[in-house]
Symmetry: C2
């Protein structure tokens, strides 16, 4: 392999069209083992991964995710869950009551999940696979929980499609590095860099759509942040024991 | 490089002792660029990284983190922040009011941070650097915010020490893969695998401490989850605009 790891990571893009080639069982297990090797707060290992193969379950998830049919088509579809259920077992075994519902525990387990998943992603891409994260499982986390029989103290953070790519999209440009790396203190928003990025993204979308889409980044972000995204999340999390105490 | 990426990831361990060798500026920037290339929900890019070089700031953070002196000693110390301040700028530019305080936005930005950081970590380790995540910045996130002048809608998720390793610790064993990878549905806790892991960890600690430390994993976890960890987090997050709505 002549590509360095840094070059590999910098060439990441999401894949939404996959060939029918399956992923070898031994490779899938190696990816999960790489995920397990990621850092985890106090060795908590607050992560469970549910591998979904049942076509009905895949279809239900594709639908609740707003019609993302690659959830049905990908060689593998994994649901990454923040898991404090095992921790509950540990507390019981040690004769302690679990301090349930702490915001801090929510953060720890959510971060654990993301570090684990990103290791799976990096491993997968190093082996020629493509991936797509599916945050839209949070459109209906209650239904996801029912489909997967998730117990209390477990919630689905996101899904992940994995398979051999059947498309080769360009990398999406990112903000200027100096807009996100700051020295010593937080720096006020650098408007020149933002406006420049807006124009970069306008050109990117124009090129991708043959001139049809005229949109800039700040519009995209304001579409996301200007509305009450997934307002059910708080009540859902509470119902699963993540009470934000 | 003969080591595969999967082998590299599986050999991760935290480094807490570093040589005095600095990290080349160009390498540091390449690591951050690799971080930026990680997936980000709806291209939000809800991450800012603050590079802390000032020795007084480093010392203050080492102290509030409970005396982790490698925060002072590492070649670089980065604080990873979930950042919706830039999103606020985008909303303003688009003439929209930001729906502030949504739990979903908290999740998106926190996950964005973790995916970004893990790419930095994987890149760093591929170049011979060692790392240590510092979740203990959340011991006193208010002081961290003041030291770094963090505005509203920005919170410090964790820190990261980076440098050339001056130690070679063994990898910490993880749970059996079959305890975290589940087929189709959530599986009840597999007690046999848990008990087996407890014994693996007992042997690991015995070996590391010359027989002094007699501790198992379930005890460690119950020590963390059996107490109200960082009970200030909720009020702190609210004060920064993350209101868990």
């Amino acid at each position: 392999m002549t590509q360095t790891v840094i070059e590999q990571l910098q060439s990441h893009r999401s894949i939404r069209k996959f060939t029918e080639q399956p992923i070898e069982e031994s490779l899938l297990r190696a990816l999960i083992a790489a995920g397990q090797s990621a850092a985890t707060s106090s060795n908590l290992q607050g992560v469970s991964v549910i591998r979904v193969r049942n076509p009905q379950t895949r279809r239900a998830m594709a639908e609740l995710a707003g019609g993302q049919e690659y959830i049905e088509e990908a060689a593998e579809f994994l649901v990454f869950c923040a898991d404090l259920n095992r921790s509950g077992w540990c507390c019981e075994r040690s004769g302690k009551a679990m301090a349930d519902g702490m915001t801090e525990h929510f953060i720890i387990s959510t971060v654990d999940v993301a570090l684990f998943a990103q290791n799976v992603v990096v491993s997968a891409e190093s082996e020629g696979l493509g991936i797509c994260y599916i945050g839209a499982l949070r459109n209906d986390p209650q239904q996801v929980s029912e489909l997967l029989a998730l117990p209390e103290n477990v919630y689905p953070v996101f899904g992940l499609c994995l398979g051999y790519p059947d498309q080769a999209p360009a990398c999406k440009p990112r903000l200027a590095l100096d807009a996100v790396l700051m020295e010593e203190h937080y720096q006020p928003v650098n408007e020149a860099l933002m406006v420049q990025y807006d124009e970069t993204m306008r050109a990117y979308y124009q090129e991708r759509t043959g001139g049809e889409l005229d949109r800039v980044w700040s519009q995209e972000v304001s579409a996301l942040l200007g509305k009450k995204s997934r307002p059910h999340m708080r009540a859902f999390l509470e119902s699963k024991g993540f009470k934000m105490r």
